[in-house]
Symmetry: C2
Subunit: 249 residues, 2 copies
DNA sequence: CTGGACTAAAGTGTATACACTTTCATATCC
DNA sequence: GGATATGAAAGTGTATACACTTTAGTCCAG
């Protein structure tokens, strides 16, 4: 089975890997284990519900299962994997209800941080947000199956706003919600058409942050989240109404 | 040094231990390790900034360091301990700014869940909330140094409201914020006088949920959080203005 | 065939071992 | 005397070993 993300795309998404999963060569075995698992998931070699191949990860990072297990315990707390007693770990798989709950939680946090971020906005922040928006547009025009890659840049946009609000705990919490939504859903559950709309909604949100009111900025962001949730829930209820061909380039 | 929580108090707080830290005899070594660490912290045998005694935990739960380390990796993700390379783990210690950020995050989530919980309130919920409120009052009248014990019941009250909102992710997130506020602050940072006020504020919040409007219920809860934060920040700025004698019964 | 025991293989969870780092105490030099 | 080396002891992080569980296969009885 061919990788849905080409090596070229894959290299480009490295900066957007989940926190603590960058796993560069200089990091600890525990971090490298988490990083390699993230890559396995993003390249569709491990899909939600499947067993986490501890031995393969250990072999690949050149370590034993001990640090790999420590990494998986961390990811367990983050809701990314689940431990099945005496049967190892599996990549968790989100139920439809969990997806909408995560979107609800996103709305709770993002409505709040949008206001704080607006109050604390400055040229540097707006530039970075604009840049992330540009990357998002660019990625969507790219080749191959860009759904997870696109979601990572989507995440970067939203998390950047949260970061501007200055509350690391809310930022981390939001980041974790995105990780769960990105990594623990089958790729079929990402409606392809949705991403184009999201770009337009981000453009509006960006404009509101640049030259709008607090309420408008908050509303634009909440609108983006609500639409995303609705599109996905509708897609989950009838995933076969819009059969998609997965481009493999 | 005498335990600040008597064995009697200690037994009573078991039902309120953080999630995944109950650590009954039948649970896995990883869970028991987390549970025993929680008990070490709640009995002031390990204080914020101190090293986590891995060997002591391993010995006490009758296991080796391997599962203890896995447990600590989980707690690391939850922000309760920090890993110092080649020097083991320490119980994290919150800076003043982190405390106020956690209160801000609490307000973000609790304002949201208060509304959802109000919409979904029913007699069973109100009964349980009333019961938790009664326990809170009772604990504060109890003997010994009841600050951490009181905070655990305070947490139970707020988390019960979150649970009624029906979003497990927001509930878990709030629960984690309380754990950090309860376990990773030096006991001196808990202003003793504050708890009496909190009881009164809980009483009002309870009344609003029983016979008020959504806005009133939300406002009462936010008021409780804001007051708590202000009292603590003031206390942290001048902890010596109101020297307290720590009762040891 | 079908379903249930038995067996072998694979895989998991933890104890143990050990190389390596840090820490602390003693000794040495300026 | 204070600062810097030196050594041993303690402690950490991970590899390895192994008891135990699950899984998969095989055999046999019905």
């Amino acid at each position: 089975m061919q990788l849905a993300i080409s090596p070229d795309d894959f290299h480009r998404l490295e900066p957007y890997l989940p926190t603590g999963m960058a796993g560069g060569p200089s990091s600890t075995p525990v971090e490298r284990a988490a990083g390699f698992l993230a890559r396995l998931v993003l390249s569709h070699r491990v899909t939600p519900g499947q067993k986490v191949p501890m031995d393969e990860i250990a072999l690949h990072i050149g370590a034993s299962r001990t640090p790999v297990r420590e990494a998986l315990r961390r990811l367990e707390t983050e809701g990314l994997v689940a431990s099945l007693p005496n049967r190892g770990f599996i990549l968790r798989r989100l139920e439809a209800v969990e997806v909408s709950q995560l979107y609800e939680a996103r709305q709770c946090i993002e409505a709040f941080v949008a206001r704080r971020a607006f109050e604390r906005r400055n040229p540097g922040f707006l530039d970075e947000l604009g840049s992330l928006h540009g990357t998002y547009e660019h990625v969507l025009r790219g080749p191959g199956d860009c759904r997870r890659l696109g979601m990572l840049v989507d995440k970067a946009f939203h998390v950047r706003i949260a970061r501007q609000a200055g509350n690391p705990h809310l930022t981390a919490s939001l980041s974790n919600m995105f990780d769960r939504l990105i990594l623990t859903r089958p790729i079929e559950d990402f409606p392809l058409g949705r991403m184009g709309e999201a770009v337009a909604e981000h453009a509006l949100a960006l404009a509101r942050f640049q030259s709008g009111t607090v309420d408008e900025a908050e509303a634009a962001l909440v609108h983006n989240i609500r639409n995303g949730c609705e599109a996905i829930v509708a897609h989950l209820r009838s995933p076969l109404e819009f059969p998609v061909s997965i481009g493999t380039r």
